[in-house]
């Protein structure tokens, strides 16, 4: 019997707000434990939540980017459970009336093959804190810096048919949210977390098999790893004629396996009910329209535009739309006046190579769009050779110097003064009697050899066009 997997992902993304969802504490990653807290997010008795409307706007944008229907009036519910990292003893979430429902996401299964997966719902909720269990200690520690950070949970329909599809879906989702400015989606900083619902069924069968939820998938590469393992595990069970148990399992990175966390009958009863501290909130069509108008251009649209309007290759368009910061930089360079193709070449060549070598981030780049344009202009004017321009660029990337400054510092400005070059040309002609003889004898390519000698004599700084001009002046045409 041939089995096929059915996969749906539940993805938590941290909204890129300055402050937390229900208080004014900073929401960014890091900080000494329990320094980004206040009476509200530590659940001091008597404190109350107040909705951060920036979080609502970002959640709305997530919904719009994923083509969801948006609810015009929302409520928040309490999800009740006990854990030390959950200070109130309940999480404020949205239960039966999520902000967004029924959207979709297109993703590339393989090159040129696109699939569309349905999004079931997107709701807003607050994050919990972090419980730390020091090795060998008889106690645990709680850090509430993260408690109250705004999240959206994006629940996909079980439309994914393989681990590779799940991975591609997650990549597309991440890129979509990053380009929409909704979330950083950085798995390492916990601003994107992914749980997977997986089942297997005989190929062609309509009904789903028994579902297992896999949690703690902590990196992009582990999405496929965890799913491959879990599908194989379920396949073996079914192959042996055993039943898959409905349960929640945890992915173990070190072994690449999943282990049981809790069975269905141990599932929590969260006793959801509407949070009486938060009245119904009118989202309103005006706010939805505003959010729609404020949406940044989507990466798919950028890709089309780069190819269509700007004439880039598919490959170039693809690379430049990997990351929003890269696309922004590229568009900035074009806006500064560089033709798109040249901008694409420079960025993909020098800039990305530099970032790759130094493991740097675009956000920290010392090179501005205008600086890059200025550099290319110098080359076009003949002030720098192409090779010299590359060296200057490298220095600009390293030091943050302007193009002229970096070129001067490297002493790479081209010698274009005929008088200065003529001396070098004369010296080469005098020294290289054999090559000059070849040229005069009709060997046209010998001119390039002479040009090379002059370049060498000027330490690469001579303007090759000027040198060639001078050589021709002095030697005439080949064979003459």
């Amino acid at each position: 019997m041939e089995l096929e997997p059915v996969i749906g992902l539940e993805v938590h993304c941290q909204l890129a707000t300055r402050s937390k969802l229900f208080c004014r504490c900073p929401a960014d990653f890091g900080g000494q434990p329990n320094t980004r807290v206040c009476p509200v997010c530590t659940a001091q008795p008597g404190t109350l939540p107040v909705l951060n409307e920036q979080a609502l706007d970002l959640a709305l944008q997530a919904g719009l980017a994923l083509r969801c229907k948006i609810r015009e009036q929302i409520k928040f519910d309490r999800k009740n459970y006990f854990y030390p990292d959950l200070p109130k003893g309940y999480q404020i979430s949205q239960f039966d009336e999520p902000l967004c429902e029924w959207g979709e996401l297109a993703f590339e299964v393989e090159k040129g093959v696109t699939k569309v997966a349905k999004i079931r719902r997107i709701h807003m909720e607050e994050d919990a804190g972090k419980a730390l269990h020091p090795d060998g200690a008889s106690f645990s520690l709680v850090d509430l810096n993260r408690a109250g950070v705004p999240l959206v949970e994006i629940v996909g329909m079980p439309d994914l048919a393989s681990p590779a599809e799940a991975s591609a879906y997650l990549q597309a989702l991440r890129r979509t949210l990053r380009f929409a400015g909704v979330s950083e989606c950085d798995m390492e900083k916990g601003s994107l977390r992914c749980d997977a619902n997986v089942s297997v069924r005989p190929k062609g069968q309509q009904e789903f098999g028994t579902k297992v939820e896999v949690k703690n998938i902590n990196s992009f590469k582990n999405v496929e790893r965890a799913l491959v393992f879990e599908i194989a595990r379920q396949g073996e069970l079914v192959g042996r004629g055993e039943k898959v148990v409905q349960e929640t399992r945890s992915f173990r990175d070190s072994e690449g396996t999943t282990v049981s966390m809790r069975k269905k009958e141990d599932a929590h009863d969260y006793r959801y009910f509407p949070d009486p501290d938060l009245p119904l909130f009118d989202v309103g069509s005006a706010r939805i329209d505003r959010a729609r108008a404020a949406m940044p251009e989507e990466w798919t649209a950028k890709r089309r535009r780069y190819q269509g309007e700007w004439g880039l290759s598919e490959y170039d368009a693809r690379v430049l739309t990997e990351e929003p910061a890269l696309a922004r930089f590229f568009e900035g360079v074009v806006a500064a006046g560089l033709p798109p193709k040249a901008a694409a070449n420079w960025i993909q060549g020098e800039v990305l190579a530099f970032l790759g070598e130094t493991k740097g981030e675009l956000a920290q780049l010392k090179l501005g769009a205008a600086d890059l344009h200025a550099l290319v202009a110098m080359e076009e004017k003949g002030e720098l050779s192409h090779q010299a321009a590359k060296k200057v660029m490298r220095r600009m990337l390293e030091t943050g110097e302007k193009a002229a400054q970096a070129a001067a510092a490297l002493d790479l400005l081209q010698i274009r003064d005929s008088g200065e070059l003529a001396g070098a040309v004369d010296a080469v002609i005098a020294a290289e009697t054999k090559v000059v003889g070849d040229y005069r004898g009709g060997k046209e390519t010998a001119l390039n050899a002479l040009l090379g000698r002059v370049m060498k004599a000027t330490k690469g700084k001579g303007d090759p066009n000027k040198i060639k001009e001078l050589l021709l002046q002095k030697l005439g045409k080949p064979g003459s």
Binding site: P39, T42, A43, Q44, P45, G46, T47, L48, P49, V50, L51, R78, N80, F82, P84, P87, K88, G89, Y90, S140, V142, D269, R271, Y272, F273, P276, D277, L278, P279
Partner: protein, 491 residues
Amino acid sequence: MLPTELAKSAAAIAAAVRAGRVKAREVADHYLARIAQHDPTVRAFLHVDPADVRAQADAVDARVARGEKEGALLGVPVAIKDNLCTRGVPTTCASKILAGYKPPYDAHVVERIRAAGGVLIGKTNLDEFAMGASTENSGYGASRNPHDVKRVPGGSSGGSAAAVAAGFAPLALGSDTGGSVRQPAALCGIVGHRPTYGAISRYGLIAFASSLDQVGPMALNVEDCALLMDVVAGPDSRDSTSRPAAPRAGDGGKGGAALAGLRIGIPAEYRSDSIDGEVRATLEKVEQLAVAGGAKLVPLNLPLTPYAIPTYYLVVTSEASSNLARFDGVRYGPRDEAQDLHAMYGATRRLFGDEVKRRIMLGTYALSAGYYDAYYKKALQVRARIGEEFARAFAQCDVVLGPTTPTPAFPLGEKSDDPVQMYLCDVFTAPAPLAGLPALSFPCGKSKAGLPIGAQLQGPALSDARLLAVARELEKKLALDLSPLEAPRGA
């Protein structure tokens, strides 16, 4: 000793301090002396720090000396129910589970009282987490009714009511979820106002049942009650349920022509045989005075009245089961160490009293999968119906008048083993909170045994000023002695 005309009026104290006729320090010393002498009998307070009280009073005197004479409560001592957070001052909700807890912040209402020049004189006793109607559920012992110390002061704001009646403070703040300001006010012979839901910020009020909890002012007379209402009411961006245009007392405390042409609804359900005869007779006298003042009585029916109690207890227990989840020993309050996390949770929660545990369990059950629709959701439906019933009533009348409680104060211990009898104390006070409506209890007489009897006025949302005005006019006509007791009685 303060002159009598000051001891019976917070407004007069503030005026005298402002005019320099008396020092805030003298006022504070007067009340501290009374507390030292009589509170061992009444047990209204859980926490009084005389040094801190004197320091606050001295700061007010310094303020006045500098010529800063604004502040409606200059030098007026205010007793604060111990479920309102006071920065650095123990706040326990009368629960062992919060023993030693000192909040890092002041409740909104506490900030407002400090800003108005009031002096926080102490934290008053209550039924643990405001769950009860007699203050007997306090984790630190019951308070006594100053009119008869063998009887309960009512609850849950029993400490606040007893403190005002016994002359320990001219003003107090309580909180009212299903009658916790009005019922003890009635039993202790003072005025207690539960404002329209959202009139006073709940920020810093430790939640019992969030959709019903309201802070309420308590005072010896209507004018003082209005004075305190105007200090603490108003919008607050830290409470999402606070009303942007909150109702104020305005001139309500002064009365005026409030009775002329007033349509007073008299529900048949508030005259049942289960109501004490003396209470009924006293209320009828109030009705006659109102009519003599130009009001018209409108007989009406509120047939859902008996459903208010079961509805109320489903809503409050459900919300409480979630609100009290945070008292887990992890972040504040005492912690019982144990082998593992769940054992620690379990051991620490022995610190909850029986009534609190009962309500947490009832609420947990009502919200459970499979029971939610039958209990919590049904209760919300009935709650909406009760609101509609009030809306229909207020199409026919301007206010509804009736007794605040079915009986005067009952003896300590009489109902403490029978939760349902205790719950029925709220029969007339639970409906208004379910509908978010304002209601006010004012003294209207005494039983032959000398126990106070309270009358309750209820009105549509935002009618707070009118309720105060009507109460003030009736108070004038009743002409009762509204001075605090010289000493507790029945000791």
